[in-house]
């Protein structure tokens, strides 16, 4: 946590909304991204991330700087995800994802440069989001926290209130499902260009 964060947190704890908004501007993208991949729906992701910030503001006085602000915030986010899963408001259809993505971009597709790369990444994105829809919420959350957030299995287990073995199994199944769901065509570019095994291993 930088010094700036500390100052902002102190001001925000004294009901300074501007300071809190500055904190939100720093971390909102990461939280929103996580929420979007978890919900697979732009509107749900926005509502959920806004809810996370509101909860964080209400609970900010309890923040004791034992961990970084983002770690604390991520814990609130995970709890919000778990509660959101239990709520009846959760939208189960992942079909509107592509449409919603255009809406949140707030930019017409025509204005974007239509290049093969853009088309590829867009198709890729849709495929990945569709594949994420195949996972159970627990598997999806475990996968996102492990793969996107880089959390350890023990950290995820503590956050999700389950054993690290369960998390490990969930992540493994999630990856297998994702691989099965993603079409061979989209996987092809990587397979067509074989890399030396040692370089593959050292890359990760």
């Amino acid at each position: 946590m930088t010094e700036n964060d500390t100052d902002l947190i102190r001001r925000a704890q004294a009901d300074d909304i501007d300071a809190f908004c500055l904190l939100a501007q720093r971390y909102a993208r990461r939280i929103h991204l996580l929420a979007f991949h978890y919900c697979r729906n732009a509107q749900d992701a926005e509502d959920l991330s806004q809810e996370v910030w509101m909860k964080a503001y209400q609970a900010l006085r309890s923040f004791r700087s034992d961990s970084s602000f983002y770690t604390w915030l991520r814990r609130i986010t995970i709890n919000a995800f778990l509660n959101h899963r239990r709520s009846t408001l959760f939208r189960k259809n992942g079909q509107t994802t592509a449409v919603q993505l255009v809406q949140i971009d707030d930019e017409p597709l025509e204005s974007r440069a239509v290049s093969p790369e853009n088309v590829y990444t867009k198709v890729l994105f849709e495929n990945v989001v569709d594949a994420l829809a195949e996972l159970t919420p627990s598997q999806r959350l475990a996968f996102l926290l492990r793969h996107y957030e880089g959390m350890t299995y023990d950290e995820i287990a503590a956050a999700m209130n389950c054993s690290s073995g369960t998390v490990k199994k969930g992540v493994s199944r999630a990856i297998t499902k994702l691989r099965a769901k993603l079409s061979p065509d989209t996987l092809a570019p990587d397979l067509d260009t074989p890399e030396p095994l040692t370089s593959l291993a050292s890359e990760y």
């Binding site: 501007q25 929103h32 990444t121 990945v128 996107y148 990856i175 990587d190 593959l200 990760y204």
Partner: protein
């Protein structure tokens, strides 16, 4: 000996654990040996790479964030004003006031209260005795009243026999006298002079009294 199952598990771990960038030579050797494992490695790597790329792709534009933060600010301000308007009164806050107490302390306090309450209740049950007030009341001492009853009983038989004898004597005398005189004008009538009741009880009651 090569085990595909073990190798595939290690591949997943290796691919996910980006922090561990040290090349796993033993794993590389295993991958060189087995085509299936090599394929597993390549496909898993491609899968994870695609998900990472899609993550970057899903970031909204700057215009979206302006609206997002404006909305967040509005929600925060609104929530703050709502909190102010719904702030409870001083009295309500006084009654709702609470202090977080550690569980052992709370337990100890509860035990003390549990022990004190019966003691206090027992003390309440015993009436508080008012200071003793001395009142002098004259009390009459009861005096045993003696009653002596004397009963005098005249024995009837001797008297009766004597009387009857005397009566018989008197009667014989009267008869003799009557026979001697043979005159009705000079006859002495029988009387009950000297007659006494055959039974007489004389009671003497001596009453006692309270001494003055």
């Amino acid at each position: 000996m090569h085990s595909c199952k073990e190798t595939k598990e290690r591949i997943t771990e290796l691919l996910l654990d980006e922090a561990d960038s040290t090349p796993d030579t033993t794993l590389s050797a295993e991958l060189l040996k087995c085509g299936d494992c090599r394929n597993e490695f390549a496909t898993l790597k491609a899968t994870l790479r695609m998900t990472k790329r899609s993550r970057e792709q899903s970031a909204p534009t700057e215009a979206y964030w302006n609206t997002y933060h404006a909305k967040l600010r509005y929600n925060l301000v609104h929530a703050n004003s709502t909190d102010e308007s719904h702030r409870p009164s001083l009295v309500a806050r006084f009654f709702n006031f609470s202090i977080p107490v550690p569980a052992p302390v709370a337990l100890a306090l509860m035990l003390v209260v549990a022990l004190l309450v019966p003691t206090v209740m027992r003390a309440d049950r015993q009436p508080t005795a008012p200071p003793p007030q001395i009142v002098q009341v004259p009390v009459e001492k009861p005096v045993i009243q003696e009653k002596v009853v004397t009963r005098v009983v005249y024995r009837e038989r001797r008297l009766h026999a004597r009387v009857s004898k005397r009566v018989v004597d008197e009667a014989s005398k009267v008869e003799d006298t009557f026979a001697k005189s043979q005159k009705p004008q000079t006859e002495i009538p029988a009387s009950f002079a000297g007659f006494k009741p055959t039974e007489e009880v004389k009671l003497t009651v001596i009453k006692g009294g309270s001494p003055k």
